[in-house]
């Protein structure tokens, strides 16, 4: 147990906010969102398909409602953000990419990449499926 009379080392309250911090917390937030909403959504989809056409139709109605679409589009962005920032982490694990400018550049690139990939996927879906 932590002794509350001892101070914690300062972090969020003292450092200037930067892209690397944003990407770090986004990695955690998108990971949690994918675990909960993504995990339940994927399992619901599979269980509905295994339960027959009526259950599957019910799932698809929820998925196509506006709130369902917000969740699905949000999860697609969360997936790309978590993917790109996860690949960045695997690279950082090798000891590369800690120089200030490089680190900042690739932190920003994960966010640019996830926005671009999400847009590309949904543009493809709406152009191919109407």
């Amino acid at each position: 147990m932590r002794n509350p009379s001892r101070p914690l080392s300062p972090h969020l309250t003292i450092w200037r906010w930067g892209p690397h911090m944003a990407v770090s917390i986004l990695h955690r937030a998108t990971g949690a969102a994918l675990s909960i909403a993504g995990g339940i959504g994927l399992t619901w989809w599979l269980a509905a398909a295994a339960s027959g056409p009526e259950q599957y139709a019910r799932f698809m109605r929820v998925a196509h409602s506006w709130i369902g679409m917000v969740v699905v589009v949000g999860l697609s962005w969360a997936f790309f953000q978590h993917l790109f920032s996860g690949l960045r982490h695997l690279l950082l694990d090798t000891g590369a990419g800690y120089e200030l400018r490089t680190n900042r550049t690739w932190a920003i690139m994960t966010m640019v990449g996830s926005a671009a990939a999400t847009l590309a996927v949904w543009a493809y879906i709406f152009s191919a499926r109407g």
């Binding site: 398909a49 993917l83 982490h89």
Partner: protein, 128 residues
């Protein structure tokens, strides 16, 4: 260092010799996820539609059902490891034990339901 009993060794300190296992499995499952989830996303995008018949027919193929089972196992293992760290970072009292058990129930329960569903569709076959 303690000598003899297990609790003596724990109190005397020293590592449990498994400190890097969690970290390493997080990376291994991450690499697996890159392959499996990208395959899943591109497969869904290449299906003509996501209606019942198309999805059942797609999931009935062994070359889809097996990667889907691997995907569920790998993804759920990965997020169980990840959410464990989130709990450890924010819960400093006894509630973390309860949350950790809940996390295990959630990950294993959901994975079992997902894998059973895939297998049920796959074993029934496209005709059924």
């Amino acid at each position: 260092m303690g000598n003899g009993t297990g609790i003596g060794r724990v109190r005397g300190l020293g590592s449990a010799k498994s400190g890097t296992h969690h970290w390493w499995m997080q990376r291994v499952t991450a690499a697996g996820n890159v392959i499996l989830v990208l395959w899943f996303v591109f497969s869904l995008l290449s299906l003509p539609a996501l209606d019942y018949e198309t999805v059942i027919k797609w999931l009935s193929s062994p070359l889809v059902a097996v990667p889907m089972v691997l995907l569920v196992a790998n993804v759920f293992y990965h997020f169980r490891l990840g959410l464990q760290v989130v709990i450890e970072d924010y819960q400093h009292d006894e509630t973390r034990i309860g949350l950790m058990i809940l996390l295990n129930f959630y990950a294993v329960g959901l994975a079992a339901l997902a894998i059973f569903s895939i297998l049920k569709i796959a074993f029934r076959g496209a005709a059924g």
